[in-house]
Symmetry: C2
C-alpha cells in the first residue's frame, strides 16, 4: 500500500508541522539523556523540554525516532538492567509509571473535535492549532486525539462486534459453538470431569488440544 496517485496524498499531507531543527547543544543534551534512558517518563521529558527550550511533544517525537533508528527496539518489559545501581528505590522508578495526566474533554469539546474530524480526518497543523485555541487544549493533544477516539473508533468497534457475532463455529466435545466465550464457559463447566483437555485460550481463538 505504498504508491498511490499523488492527488490524494496532497490532500492528506497538506500543512504539516514545520520541521524542527535542534541545535548542537540541544542534541547533545538529548543524546546524553537518551543514553541514560531511552524511555523517559513525562516529567523527564518535561524537564528536558525546559532545559533545551522546546515543546515536550517534539522531544517525544525525537525519542521515538531515535529508538526506532538507533537500535534499542523491543521495549524492556520491566527493567532490563538489574546489574546497575538499585540504591535509591524511589528515584530509579521513573520508567513507565510517569506519564502525562489524562486530559478529559467536555462534551462540547468532543463535539467540536468530532465535527472537525468528520469534515477533515487529517487536518494540517494550522487547523489543529485553530482547534486547540478554540477549545482550550494543547495542540499536541488535538493532534493525538483524532486517531485515538471519535467516530472511526466507533465504526471499527461496530464492525468487530458484527464479525464476532458472525464468527466461525468451533467444535468442542460433541457440540458446536459459535462464540469463543461460550466455549470457555463450556470447558470450565466440564473441566473437572474431563481434566486432560489442554486449551489454548487467547482473546480471539480457542483450540482444543485433546479429544474427549
Amino acid at each position: 500500500m505504498g504508491q498511490d496517485s499523488p492527488s490524494d496524498k496532497t490532500m492528506v499531507t497538506k500543512g504539516r508541522r514545520s520541521r524542527t531543527s535542534f541545535t548542537e547543544e540541544q542534541l547533545e543534551i538529548l543524546v546524553q539523556a537518551f543514553s541514560q534512558n531511552p524511555y523517559p517518563g513525562y516529567t523527564a521529558k518535561q524537564r528536558l523540554a525546559v532545559e533545551i527550550n522546546a515543546e515536550e511533544s517534539r522531544i517525544q517525537i525525537w525519542f521515538q525516532n531515535r529508538r526506532a533508528r538507533h537500535g534499542f527496539l523491543k521495549r524492556p518489559k520491566k527493567k532490563l538492567d538489574p546489574s546497575k545501581d538499585h540504591a535509591s528505590p524511589k528515584e530509579k522508578i521513573q520508567d513507565g509509571r510517569d506519564r502525562r495526566c489524562r486530559t478529559s474533554y467536555t462534551s462540547s469539546q468532543l463535539q467540536t473535535l468530532k465535527n472537525a474530524f468528520t469534515e477533515n480526518p487529517y487536518p494540517g497543523i494550522d487547523s489543529r492549532e485553530q482547534l486547540a485555541e478554540k477549545i482550550g487544549v494543547p495542540e499536541s493533544r488535538v493532534q493525538l486525539f483524532l486517531p485515538e477516539t471519535g467516530m472511526a473508533q466507533k465504526d471499527q468497534e461496530m464492525k468487530n462486534i458484527q464479525e464476532k457475532t458472525n464468527q466461525n463455529t468451533h467444535i468442542a466435545g460433541n457440540f458446536e459453538y459459535k462464540s469463543v466465550l461460550d466455549l470457555k464457559l463450556y470447558l470450565s463447566e466440564t473441566e473437572d470431569t474431563v481434566a486432560t483437555q489442554h486449551v489454548t485460550f487467547s482473546k480471539r481463538s480457542a483450540v482444543v488440544a485433546s479429544g474427549v
Copy 2:
C-alpha cells in the same frame, strides 16, 4: 417527560416553519379528497399540491393532522372496505404502493448533513433551507433526514449489539450459555435425543420450556 424548563425548549423550538393558512377553497378541496381517501399516495398528494398551489409536504402534514383528529385512526392493514367496488383493479390500488421516489444522497451530502446534525440536532426552518440549498435537496427531505438516519441511528445500533453481547446467561441442559444464538445451536444439535423440549425463540430471548 412533559414539562421541562422553558430554556431548553426555546433552544429546540427556535425558528419553526411559519404557520401555513389554507384558504376556504383549498380546504374544501382537501376535505373532499380526504373523504374520498384519507391516505393519498404520492401522486395524489402531488396532484393536490398543484391543484391548490401548495407544497406537497404541507399537504402531507395536513392529512396527518386530519387523520389524527377526525377519527380514522388505525390504518387499515390491506383494504378495510371490500364491500365497495372492485371493478377496476388497477385504478383502486393507489393506496400504499405509490410513494415518493427514494432520494439517494451522495457521501458529501451525507457529510454535510451529519455535520449539521451534530452541531445542532434541531435546526430551524432557516437552517434547513440553507442546507437544502447548499446540497441541492428539497427542504422537506432535509427536515425528515435528521431523525431518520445519521449518527443517532448508529449509536442505537451499537447499544443494542452491546446489550446483546452482555445478555444474561441462559441455562440449557447442564450447561450455561451466554448467547441466545449459541443456545439455539445447542438445542438443534440435541433435539433428536431430547425431542420434547419446547423452545420459544425470538430475536432477543429464548426460553426453554421443558427440562431434560
